[in-house]
Structures are given as C-alpha cells and as structure tokens.
Amino acid sequence: MTEIQAGTGVAETAAPGSQQVPAIELDNVVKEYTSHGEVVRAVKGVSLSIAEGEFFSLLGPSGCGKTTSMRMIAGFEDPTQGVVRLHGQDVTSVPPNKRDVNMVFQSYALFPHMSVWENVAFGLKRKNVDAAEIKRRVGEILEVVDLTGREKRRPREMSGGQQQRVALARALVNRPRALLLDEPLGALDLKLRQAMQIELKRIQRDVGITFVYVTHDQGEALTMSDRIAVMNDGLVDQLADPREIYERPATKFVAGFIGTSNLLSGVVQEVTGSTAVLALGPSDRVVISTETPVAVGDSVELTVRPEKITIATEQPAGDRSVVRGTVSEVVYLGTSNNYAVVLADGAEITVFQQNAHDSTITAERGDTVWLSWQPQHSYVLR
C-alpha cells in the first residue's frame, strides 16, 4: 500500500498534544434561504471545531442542515451569518475552487466524458502540477483505492463501488487539507456499504487527512467516526465521540435517532444524595442520578438502551431500577431475542436479550414481566 503524505500541516499531526489550529471551524454559522417568499433557516447557528486528522461526522435526518453545513465548508453556500475557517484562515467569502478542501459527492458526480485517469487528474491539472508529477500521483492514488489497471475506463462502465472509489481518488489525489464526504455510501447496497466503511476508515488512516462525513445512517457514523455532531433542525444537539453519543444521549432527539432507545417519564418521588427515585407505575421504581439536579415533584424523561435491560418473570431484588409490564411481542433474531413490553402507563419498551448461553425464550406474549437495569443506565434527558 502506498503511503500518501498529505499537504502541508499534516506532518504536525504526528506530534501528539501539540497545540494545533483546528482544521475546520464553523463559528456560529447561519444559513437562510428564501423559498416562495418565505425565509427558511436551514442552519440556525452551528459552531464546530474539527481537529486535524479527525474523522468527523455530521449526523442527522434529512433536512437537519448537515449537508448545508458541509456545503458551507466546501464553499458552495455562503453563510448568511458566521465565519468559516480552514486552518485558522477566514474563508467565508473564498470561492470553492480556491479552498483547499475537496468533496466526494453523494452521487459521485464523476465526469462522464472522461476516463478514470482523466477524472482523477482533473484537479491536479487545474493546479498546473507538472505532467510527470500528475502521472505519479494519479498512479499512486489509484493504487490506494485499488483501481490500478482501470485507468482507461469510463465511469459508466464501472460498478457503483468502483465509481465510489474513483470519486474518492479524484478528491484525495489533491492532498486536500480536509476531505468532505456527502453521504458517499448512500447509493451502495448493504454488503458493499459495510465493506466500504472499513475501506474508508483504512484510507483515512493511511492518508491522515481530516474527513468530514455527512450521513443520516447512525450505524455508519458510530462505526467510523472519531467524533459525531448530531444535528437536528438546523442545530447541533450533541457533539461527542460515538460511545458518549450512544451511551449518554444528551437530548430526547439524540436518544431516539441513535440506535433503539426507550423513553420513560415519571415524577421524582424522593431525592437522596446522589440519586433520586422516580415513580412510574405502582410496582415500579426507577433510580436516576442527580447529576442533572432534580427536586421532588419534577417530571423527568429518561432513556434506557434495550440491551441494558434484563427481563425476568419474577420481581428482581436489589437496587436495580424496576418496571413491570406485559409482553406484547417476541421476535427471535438469532443472535438475540427482541421483546416489546408495554408498561402500565402505555409506554412501549424494547428489550434485547443476547443468546449468550442458550436460546430459551424467557417470556411469551401476554406474560407479565419485570424489566430491570443498573441505575447508571438511566439517562435523564434535557
């Protein structure tokens, strides 16, 4: 595998702990459109700081402003307010062809009238790199994306996965300061998508370039990212590493968008030191931490991940959080059993039970069951 050295600045990445200028900064960026006479706020004030060499994802449903945010980094959209900085330099009004970032488009946007080689060499030619250097670098990058020998092909003669790799090579060959990827795997089927996720991660490690990855696929974001910004309705709801996002979702939206999560609500019954007890149903007892201060009588929403919950047909003892419900559905998934349990207040809770030891189903449809989990697995939502 060819080692690619990225452009200036990347060499410093190796020095750990050195004070660095962020690769990309969005400083309170707002984007408004006028559509049919109405002002639409696509991005409502986003501030991000993406470190050199980081694999950073912008995750959210369609219309959350993630693509618009990325397009402002690339220069295709002018922010209505705010500042975009690349390596500390204000590029807010710099056109895309003068920005040292490259983009991998959602549908690849390969030039159909050019061969693979011409597509990949396009950027270098525009930068007037000399012919021998172009030849060397295009050859190198085609090796990285495993397309050596296909230089003369036209994009339409290639499979989706190959086109994807051409698009990647076309951007990476320029050794940009950052690579922007707009749902690059969206058009691929599941198997290929999973293979490309690993491939992308490998390439990113090899070239050491900052990746900004836009996706609506939470699994993809969790798998590949160093950090994720979960966006919702034009704002960043949570910015953290994948584990934090999954384990400690900050908002109801993040909890609902990432993985499967169960939402519970109850009223604080008593507060003792670092814990508080919520009342849900008559035989329920949910313990939460008072990291977020609560008072008796407060209404609180919390989330619990399905795999943290234990299902039992008898009331468990100890200080675990316990709720009682009725099994409404049992789905056998091979690696796990999936239960849907309806609580007294009507809330539906999903429980994953791993088939770790044997595949016995603990409860059947209609059974009354107790669900329990460790107190630290309850997350109070803001």
Binding site: F76, P96, N97, N102, Q106, A109, H113, S115, F122, R126
Partner: protein
C-alpha cells in the same frame, strides 16, 4: 402462440412508420434517381438511357450556386450556434421553474408559417421599411443602402428561420448535465471558464452536433429565403432545382442536381461526424 405474438410485436410497431417512409421517401427517391439518368423532354417523354450528362451539365452550369448554398448554410449554422448556445445555456441552467415557458417562446415563431415569417423579414428589411426608413431619413445610412437582395439578408433569414432547430437539441444536451458536475469541477479548482470549457462544452457537443445537422441540411437546400429575401446574385441551389422542375421542366437536370446536393451533404455530415461526432469528440475535448 404468445411467444410468436411477442416476437412479432416490435415489427408490428415499426410497420406503420416503416411503410410511410418506404412509400413517401424511398420510392420517390428511387424514381428521382432513375429520372436523373433519363434523357428526353416533357413533350416527347423521358427514357432511361444511363445519361450521366445531366450530372455533368448540372454541376458545370450551377457549381457557383452549389458552393454558395453550402457557404450560406455554413454561415447560417455558425451564426445560429453563436446566437443559440447562450440562449440554450441560459434556459437550461438559469431557467428555473419557467424553463418550459422559455422553450415555448423559442418555439413560438413556428406557429407562423415559414413563408410568412420570411415575408415579414422582407417587410422589415425593405429599402424604406420600418428599419431602414428611419435610419435613412436621419441620415445614419445613405439613401441607396439596402439589405434585401444581398447575401446578408439571405443568411440572416436562414439563421432566423432554423434557429429553434439549433436551440432545442443544444438545450436538451445542456439540460441533461448534472449541476453537481459543475460543482465538482469548481471543487477541483476549476475556474468558471475552465468549468465551462472542460465540462459544460464537451458534454453539450452531442447537442451541438444534432443542432448542426438539423439546421445545416435544411438551410443549405432552402430556396424560400433566397427567393423572398435575395436577388439574382444570391440564388441558391434550391432555387435552381425548383426552377428546373417547375419552370424549365428539365426533370433529369433537376433530379441530378438534387442528388448532387444530397451526396455532398451526406459526405459533409459523414466527415463532420468522423471529425467531431460521437465519443471521439468527447475524448478530444477532455484532454
């Protein structure tokens, strides 16, 4: 039974159009080919004699008109590309939700008959008409200035009359270009001009090619513009053919001239297609 029907269906679909073309194009063409090799006159009748003289006579007598026709056709085609491309480009990329309105406006002149449009040009360009009259009375132009009966009038008329045939195929080609390709080019450091030259232009060439075919061929063989807007010095081969057929009734020479023109156009198109045509043109442009 079903499979037989399934196999016959494509032929059944092509049959009406095929018959139409066979009856109204192939047969008359063959008849004309035969006529061009006959000798005789209207009074005594014509007989097939492998008489190549009609070709020789036609070409020696009228080679000026043939060359002129091709030149006028070429000039009109170039003018139409120059005028039409920006229009097609603008509608395709800046037309927004009103694209179909603009296209309709481009096609609007077609609602008026071809001859009538040309006559209206004659009216506009006449020596003391709406355009030249005021300019002459203001002294901007000399009294004896005229446009009618000059090559400019004929080429102008040809350019005007066939312009929609140039704009439409170019529009179709431009409209099919994914705007993200333009963004990709910009993202890869191309300036606006480079984006146009490297991406937009090569991808629009198939449309330009089609437009050239659809305008150069009818413009070169046109006779209406020359007879309405031109004079004795602007006679095109179409006028000669028409005259030979309808006035002199020298069918063999008229047919021979028609075939000569057809052959020249076919050779021209073939050379043009080889030089610019399909994939090759794109490859050349991409370099």
């Amino acid at each position: 039974m079903r499979t037989l029907r399934a196999r016959l269906t494509p032929y059944a679909l092509v049959l009406p159009g095929g018959l139409w073309l066979a009856i109204f194009f192939v047969i008359p063409t063959l008849v004309m080919l035969s006529l061009s090799l006959q000798s005789g006159n209207v009074v005594d009748g014509f007989a097939f004699t492998w008489n190549w003289h009609s070709y020789v006579d036609g070409i020696t007598t009228y080679h000026n008109q043939i060359v002129r026709s091709l030149l006028y056709g070429l000039s009109a085609t170039i003018i139409q590309i120059v005028i039409g491309f920006p229009v097609a480009y603008w509608i395709a990329f800046k037309g927004g939700s009103r694209k179909s309105v603009y296209l309709f406006l481009v096609l609007l002149p077609f609602l008026v008959s071809f001859v009538l449009r040309t006559i209206s040009w004659q009216f506009l360009l006449s020596d003391n008409g709406i355009l030249l009259g005021p300019l002459k009375s203001l002294g901007v132009l000399p009294q004896d200035f005229h446009i009618l009966a000059t090559p400019y009038a004929v080429i102008g008329g040809l350019s005007y009359n066939f312009l929609p045939f140039m704009i439409l195929p170019m529009y179709v080609a431009l409209e099919r270009i994914d705007p993200r390709l333009l963004e990709a080019a910009q993202d890869l450091y191309a300036s606006k001009v480079q984006t146009f030259l490297r991406v937009v232009l090569p991808l629009s060439l198939p449309g330009v090619f089609a437009g050239v075919l659809m305008t150069f061929v009818p413009a070169s063989s046109d006779y209406v513009n020359s007879s309405v807007l031109g004079g004795t010095n602007t006679t095109m081969i179409g006028n000669v053919i028409q005259n030979q057929f309808l006035v002199n009734q020298d069918y063999p020479v008229a047919s021979a001239l028609s075939f000569t023109l057809m052959a020249l156009l076919l050779v021209g198109i073939f050379v043009y297609a080889r030089a610019l045509g399909t994939e090759d043109v794109l490859e050349v442009a991409a370099r």
